[in-house]
Amino acid sequence: MTAAIAVDRLEVIFDRFRALKGVSLDVQPGESFGLVGESGSGKSTLLRAIAGLAPVASGSIAVNGKTLGPRRDKAFYREVQMVFQDPYGSLHPRQTVDRLLQEPLAIHGFVDGEKRIQRALDEVGLGNGFRFRYSHQLSGGQRQRVAIARALILEPSILLLDEPTSALDASVQAEVLNLLEEVRKRRKLTFLMVSHDLAIITHMCERLMVMQGGEAVENLTAADLVERRVTKDYTRNLLRASDGFVRA
């Protein structure tokens, strides 16, 4: 079976800073894969490099068996879409939800726009009442739902999720995580999800990779993590930290 995403010895360099130091990764179709690490670990950079938003210095990225060049074509964006971390920064401040959702359809020349927008809004649990609102008239959770609708409207097979809930309140986070699981099940999507929170990654993903300083620390399954079968000290530290504060 060809991997949905295959990353091989990927290096990303920003102005002489090596943000990724030869990371390899395989994600199977329909799988949900997690990237965990702290700030500066390179987890978001890896995601952005796949999306074509970070300068790749060497190594290769293949999506659905097709190796990607430095330029992505329109067909790529029909396959791969992304949801950003900050719901306040990822929606254009001067556009209504309607306009935001129309844009990808216009770029790719869809004619049944009206129907697709309705369906996308229904799918993310926002009724028609939200269609003509501006982003400042929406709460954080609603914004993130719009961002998910926008990513899904082109019917991609792979969704890149960059800390999609870290800016949300815990109760809203649960709703958004449930929504993401639901659409994955319905559309048989492949997820590549970045988070600093081990609990979220074990909840959402079957396999995960722990990253630190631009390198992979170890590859684990969610079950490994639940039973604390980890081999590296760094992962153990992360696990301990996620239990909360323990008085010395």
Binding site: A51, G52, L53, R72, D73, K74, F76, Y77, R78, Q81, M82, F84, Q85, D86, G89, S90, L91, H92, P93, R94, T96, D98, E103, P104, I107, H108, G129, F130, F132, R133, Y134, H136, Q137, A147, R150, L154
Partner: protein, 308 residues
């Protein structure tokens, strides 16, 4: 609240609705919020009234003016002081100054509007393209902008008019050519702040071309700060046009352009102050109007002042 208030209130509710039902309603609601913020500002409202008055006067100059702007009574009416017959007096050729000022408003508007529609789009285009493209494109475009900015505006305009020949069309062209660089700077600065934002990244991830991103996603964000800046610059444009007229390089007599009028009145400024004073006052009022309007627009349109 009485029953008679119910109707206008419901229209207001419709405009302020948190759940607009159509594109038009959303757009109108947004405009209404900006309008309310604008009209709450008394001075800005005064500025708007001045500009509206200018437009009305320019449109109706033929009806409002009591005398001809170009033909005077040389025999009986030279340099008359303001009176019931000639409110602002007459000039050295016996022409009624009020009539000349009323007709002059057309030339003022002509200059201001032409400069705005030539200079602002050039500045917007240069600035957004430079800001979004970066690299060499940015360096070349911004160095050209710098060259224009390196000369004082009036001197550069003078040089252009001297090369193109005097006349009001050439004055407009010269002012337009010299006034786009600040707009390019503003548009570029604005573009740089949004270029790396996630919402522009998201549009890139949909496969949008750079052309589409600049035109449909970046330009709309720059326009409000540009409108504000252009409005605030209007006073400067009027003054530059008047300055060129004053130096004999703008509008040519007998055209009733305000700057030219001041130039010809300067000879009698001590004894017949109204000849230069009246057009000077007109320039002052209109410049003030544009400045007040610009300040008001800044408060009303500035996205940073909070939309909620």
């Amino acid at each position: 609240m009485t029953a008679s208030d119910a109707r206008p209130l419901s229209r207001r509710d419709w405009l302020l609705s948190e759940r607009p039902a159509s594109r038009t309603q959303a757009r109108l609601g947004r405009a209404y919020v900006a309008w309310r913020r604008f009209s709450a500002n008394r001075l800005a409202f005064l500025g708007l009234l001045i500009i509206i008055a200018l437009l009305v006067v320019a449109a109706l100059a033929g009806v409002l003016a009591p005398y001809s702007p170009t033909f005077g009574d040389l025999k009986n009416a030279r340099l008359l002081a303001p009176s019931a017959e000639h409110w602002f007096g007459t000039d050295d050729l016996g022409r009624d100054i009020l009539s000349r000022i009323l007709y002059g408003s057309r030339w003022t508007l002509y200059v201001v509007i032409l400069v705005a529609i030539i200079a602002a789009p050039i500045g917007l285009l240069v600035g957004t393209v430079a800001g979004y493209a970066g690299g060499w494109t940015d360096a070349i475009l911004m160095r050209i902008t710098d060259i224009f900015l390196a000369f004082p505006k009036l001197i550069l305009a003078l040089a252009f008019v001297a090369a193109l020949g005097p006349g009001i069309e050439n004055a407009v062209l010269a002012i337009a050519i010299t006034s786009w660089p600040p707009y390019a700077r503003i548009a570029r600065a604005e573009t740089l702040t949004v270029r790396n934002s996630d919402y522009i990244k998201a549009v890139q991830l949909m496969g949008a071309s750079p052309f589409r991103i600049v035109l449909r996603h970046i330009m709309p964000l720059c326009i409000s700060s540009l409108i504000i800046r252009v409005t605030l610059d209007m006073a400067g444009i009027i003054l530059t046009a008047a300055g060129l007229g004053f130096l004999g390089l703008g509008a040519q007599p007998p055209l009733p352009e305000w700057g030219t009028m001041i130039a010809s009145g300067r000879r009698f400024v001590l004894d017949q102050w109204w000849v230069a004073g009246a057009p000077g006052f007109a320039i002052l009022i209109v410049s003030l109007g544009f400045n007040l309007l610009g300040d008001g627009l800044r408060d009303a349109l500035d996205p940073r002042s909070g939309d909620q």
